[in-house]
């Protein structure tokens, strides 16, 4: 029990004293999750739109597949990506293993189903009159997509927040692909896993609070952005 309180105190300490190791992990986490968010949103929102907007044969099957992939364990994604980026793998040349872009690549795969599934649901939940209205007003192709996503902006934003939460809190990929290498690819979550393994539970809690603080800051920034845009 007491390590929780200890953890809270240590979290404040870590944050205020600018603890070097902690900030290194914060920056690694931020870098990796930012890159993976850019990747997964850029890919996932358009795919989600297509899946939510159009009717095509096999749509239900694709939908079921995406929903199933929501259950992808991080370690499996890690194993899968490792097979490609290992120096003997097909992408070995790119030297992505034990790098932040490598983590980001695997995280993108991890959260893509979340972005796609939630965006598709958001687009599907839109008022049925929107489609006819946009067509009647002369929107076409990408314009329809953009306008639809703007109509569903709130739900799409939550899709992004959910995906962000998943990326920033995962540990299996960061371990497997990042390698948890101190000063280089150690993220907050791999640090938590390490400290917990060492029996340093209060440090684990402290780093957990650091992570939540980070997530809160990012969400707050997004909220401000959202307010501006609406």
């Amino acid at each position: 029990m007491e390590y929780i309180f200890e953890g809270i105190v240590r979290a404040i300490e870590l944050l205020l004293t600018g603890n070097e190791e902690t900030y290194s992990a914060v920056f690694v986490t931020l870098k990796a999750s930012t890159m993976s968010m850019i990747g997964s949103l850029a890919l996932g929102i358009p795919c989600g739109f297509l899946l939510g907007y159009f009717d095509f044969p096999g749509k239900k099957q694709v939908r079921a597949l995406v929903d199933t992939l929501l259950a992808l364990p991080t370690v499996v994604v890690g194993l899968f990506v490792y097979a490609f980026v290992s120096y003997r793998g097909p992408l070995g040349e790119m030297q992505l293993l034990f790098t932040i872009p490598g983590i980001a690549l695997a995280q993108t795969i991890l959260v893509l189903p979340i972005v796609i599934s939630l965006t598709a649901t958001a687009v599907e939940s839109l008022d049925k009159r929107l489609r006819s209205t946009l067509m009647a007003l002369g929107a076409r192709g990408k314009q329809i997509a953009i306008a639809s996503i703007l109509e569903a902006r709130y739900a799409v934003m939550i899709a992004a927040v959910t995906a962000y939460g998943r990326a920033v809190s995962e540990v299996g990929i960061s371990m497997m692909i990042g390698g948890n290498i101190k000063w280089h690819t150690r993220t907050i979550t791999t640090a938590i896993a390490l400290e917990t393994g060492k029996g340093e539970f209060s440090m684990g809690i402290a780093l957990g609070i650091v992570l939540l603080t980070l997530a809160f800051t990012v969400n707050a920034l997004l909220t401000i952005l959202k307010k501006r845009s609406t």
Binding site: A136, G138, E151
Partner: protein, 346 residues
């Protein structure tokens, strides 16, 4: 060239999934610059027809020709020359300004945008100062409807299709809309297709009004429609009992007992007193009723008298002279007279 109609419909069929409704139009054409009105009961198929004409839906069978070529919904230029105001207007979750500007923005016509939006808002009676920056949900029903209309008018399309444009609009705005549409037609020869339940308003914008009924275009709107059931009589006639117990006869047999009869308003004669005996009169049907409304038919300048036959409403078209000599007014008791052979079947 100018002989090809703007729309030509050939054996069109459209069906909703697991619905009984079938829109079936064997042959129909709309001329360039025409202004067509469409009336008919709820569920008749007006909206369905308009959506197909607006290129928002593909028919299941048959062909629609637009401007001489087969409709191709992948042809953006073709699609963009038609716009439609939907029956239940939907506003984008943006400001009024953005809603009205949207059609021009997607066309990349951004020159003089603000000025155009403001002008169009004026046309529908919404002062831009007060409305341009409102959010989509900060509007009353009729205001929202007019914003939706403005976002169509600004596009200045070749064909303007409107589904119940005046449904929740006040009378003053209905006149404004009429004026806006008529001005547009004069300037740009816009083709107009409007569905409405407000026949009086419709007559002020449409030069020809069709009735759409059970998925078919059943002729001109002004025709009276008389429901069955029709039962055979001994003398070869078919009889329908009106709600108040009076009867109506048809000389030709209906397709089936539930068939609907059509009666041209011009075929109805009105009399203030009951003609004595049937001998002196070649018409079999003499039915008691009350005048409920008098209006003027816009194009013919004749008088349209709406008469309530104890529950069934029919319209009679009479000359001004006849109306004057009859001294009719709303509330006047009247006799409606027409031949049993005047009833046609759909």
């Amino acid at each position: 060239m100018s002989e090809t109609p703007l729309y030509r419909i050939n054996n069109l069929k459209y069906r909703y999934e697991n619905g009984r409704f079938l829109l079936h139009i064997p042959e129909f054409a709309i001329a360039r610059g025409a202004s067509i009105g469409i009336v008919g009961p709820n569920g008749g198929g007006k909206t369905t027809l308009l959506k197909i004409l607006a290129l928002l839906e593909d028919p299941d069978e048959g062909t629609v020709y637009f401007d001489g070529t087969k409709v191709d919904r992948t042809n953006d230029a073709m699609k963009r020359s038609v716009t439609m105001l939907l029956q239940e207007a939907y506003l984008l979750k943006r400001t009024v300004f953005e809603n009205v500007a949207y059609g021009l923005k997607v066309r990349n016509e951004k020159q003089g945008l603000t000025e155009k939006v403001h002008r169009t808002l004026h046309m529908v009676g919404l002062p831009p100062d007060e409305f341009a920056q409102r959010r989509w949900h900060q509007l009353s029903g009729g205001e929202a409807q007019r914003v939706a209309l403005a976002s169509r008018l600004i596009i200045n399309p070749r064909v303007l299709i409107m589904d119940e444009p005046t449904a929740s609009v006040d009378q003053r705005s209905a006149v404004l809309i009429k004026d806006a549409v008529n001005t547009m037609r004069e300037q740009f020869n816009t083709t107009l297709i409007v569905a409405s339940h407000d026949l009086i308003w419709l007559n002020t914008v449409a030069s020809q009004v069709f009735r759409v009924y059970e998925g078919r275009i059943t002729g001109l709107a002004s025709d009276n429609v008389i429901d069955g059931p029709w039962n055979p009589e001994s003398d070869g006639l078919w009889k329908k009992v009106l709600p108040d117990g009076q009867v109506m006869f048809s000389a030709t047999p209906p397709g089936d007992s539930a068939a609907k009869a059509l009666l041209n308003p011009s075929d109805i004669v009105l009399a203030k007193a009951q003609p004595d005996g049937r001998d002196g009169l070649s018409a079999r049907n003499i039915i008691r009723g009350t005048v409920t409304l008098l209006s003027e038919e816009n194009h013919s300048k004749k008088v349209l008298a709406t008469i309530d036959l104890g529950g069934l409403s029919v319209i009679s078209r009479i000359t001004r002279r006849a109306a004057e000599s009859l001294h009719i007014l709303p509330g006047t008791p009247i006799f409606v007279i027409f031949k049993a052979s005047s009833l046609r079947w759909e």
